[in-house]
Symmetry: C2
DNA sequence: CGCACTAATTGTCCAGGACAAAAGGAGGTT
DNA sequence: AACCTCCTTTTGTCCTGGACAATTAGTGCG
């Protein structure tokens, strides 16, 4: 009956596929094949939008569009992740499965309580490294494999964010260096930033959290205004890797030479370090960098 | 020397103006007028990007592109907000100016302390209504008028978010109704959601916070999975008003009939209520709606 | 098996036309 | 002056179809 349809902008919004891509796929592969309204504009029916979402998810796992777009829905549903073929289960992950289960049961209260317990037991540093970080990865994998819904992932992010923020707020204010924490436009993953902030504040760093998605110009201005010693950016694994070097280089040129530029997060793991930028693929690297900075300034 | 240039995608990212708009402006008004690289693609110099940012801000204040695009930079800088011509200063706002001043001095610690004091003095309910809400509006105005930088606004959001979340987390868990709180894609303003959450949790509502930007399909799924009684959406004043009715109607159709749909925030003030949706332009309306819901169920 | 080189794939950009929705303006009525 | 209606202009978004560079896959050779 209702037979809702979406215009191309709505599909772009819901699937994350740009208008250009939607049109060129239609031209090349014959899918999607939207109807047209009186004005000749594309009207995508719900089924096609859902199929596009599925295709998008499979592509994020390393499949290629040419193969996927010819396939019927059933075949798509049976495809498994390609990129990370072998993924062994560490004991730590087995331990975390309990938390995942709570999320999948939509038990917000239970999840919060379990998280709080782990925080109390492990202390903030180990909590970040041994609970939040691997949990984030597990959720990412579950999401890639379609075992997690969008809203389950959102709930995870929201509740975990809250606990981390709360933990950070109980710590005493740092004494230096002054470190500005943010991410570039289109990078909205916030958990990485919060994890680093927690570790740094524990070490007495004075963090200035600016949230995510700060235009490059404004990062430079903020660094100057706050008299920051260091600017630290976070790139998640989901961020388009080829954009990163350019962004870092551009920011490095805009930023005063006296201010250091650090970049961390899963997106920086397989990256050759640009000039004047320090890469911190893991937490240990971040703490090392901090120790070195302090040694240099003392 | 460096003479950085931006390709059209970078300009879209930095200015928020779509590629289509950038090209059609160039065609119609002769600005921007980017150079071309060896491949015939547009290369926007820094000055033009900055001018575009300025134009964008003036447009958000109600100016129209046809007038702005012919003007030189000096003239642009002298333009004042148009939409809210007369804006009188209430005494309450004068009181809040102190907080604004702290933000403009980039004194994060001082701002947090001042906010915390106000929270302790006013209690959460009045803090939300008399401090956070008007402060958010003031920051919005200051931002529109160019008196606030992007990063100052981000800092405000980040710090205020933290305090509200912290305050919410100290409250006891609610007993019902179960209320799902989120926003639609492209609506990323989170403070409104947090303010409502604080007020509702104070009233014993069991809030399920899903963060911002949830696709409509997933909102419906989440509501079912969480067995929510009510779905509440927040629309900021900055959200394109014409999209709201369509979105609400579409969601209403997807959502099971037994689940109520509420929509609030500054974006819903001048809106005729769609069928099956309850509009809550202000906090009082939200509390009224809650009282009525409870009366109906008792 | 590793490496260089060719071929296919795929995303993004371009030009320029079209149209509908929104905003502005004109004119008449209360 | 405020309000409504009708008409005009402005403005954003969508369209087609072509092009090309960057990535990925495939192939042959040392």
């Amino acid at each position: 009956m209702s037979s809702l349809t979406f215009n191309i902008a709505a599909v772009e919004r819901d699937t994350g596929l740009s208008k250009d891509v939607l049109r060129v796929w239609e031209r090349r592969y014959g899918f999607p094949s939207p109807e047209r309204d009186a004005n000749g504009e594309r009207c995508y029916p719900t089924e096609q939008v859902e199929r596009l979402c599925l295709i998008k998810r499979l592509m994020d796992q390393g499949h290629r569009p040419g193969k996927l777009l010819g396939l019927p829905v059933d075949a798509l549903n049976q495809l498994t992740p390609r990129r990370h073929a072998a993924r062994e289960r560490t004991p730590a992950q087995a331990d975390l499965a309990e938390l995942l289960a709570l999320l999948r049961q939509h038990d917000a209260v239970g999840y919060q309580r379990a998280l709080q317990q782990r925080l109390a037991r492990q202390g903030l540093q180990r909590f970040v490294q041994d609970t939040v970080a691997p949990l984030t990865e597990l959720v990412g994998v579950a999401w890639e494999e379609g075992r997690f819904e969008v809203f389950e992932e959102h709930l995870f992010t929201e509740l975990t964010k809250r606990l981390l923020r709360q933990a950070i707020s109980t710590l005493p204010a740092g004494r230096g260096p002054r470190l500005l924490l943010t991410s570039v436009p289109n990078e909205e993953h916030v958990l990485g930033l919060l994890m680093v902030e927690a570790l740094f504040v524990l070490e007495g760093v004075e963090c200035i959290p600016l949230g995510t998605q700060m235009p490059l110009h404004d990062i430079a201005r903020a660094a100057a205004a706050h008299a920051a010693d260091i600017v630290a950016l976070s790139f998640s694994v989901a961020f388009p890797p080829r954009q990163i070097p350019g962004l870092l280089q551009q920011l490095r040129q805009t930023l005063p030479a006296g201010i250091e530029l650090w970049a961390g997060g899963g997106g920086t793991v397989r990256l050759s370090p640009p000039a004047g930028v320090r890469l911190l693929p893991g937490f240990a690297d971040a703490l090392d960098a901090l120790a070195e900075w302090r040694a240099r300034r003392s």
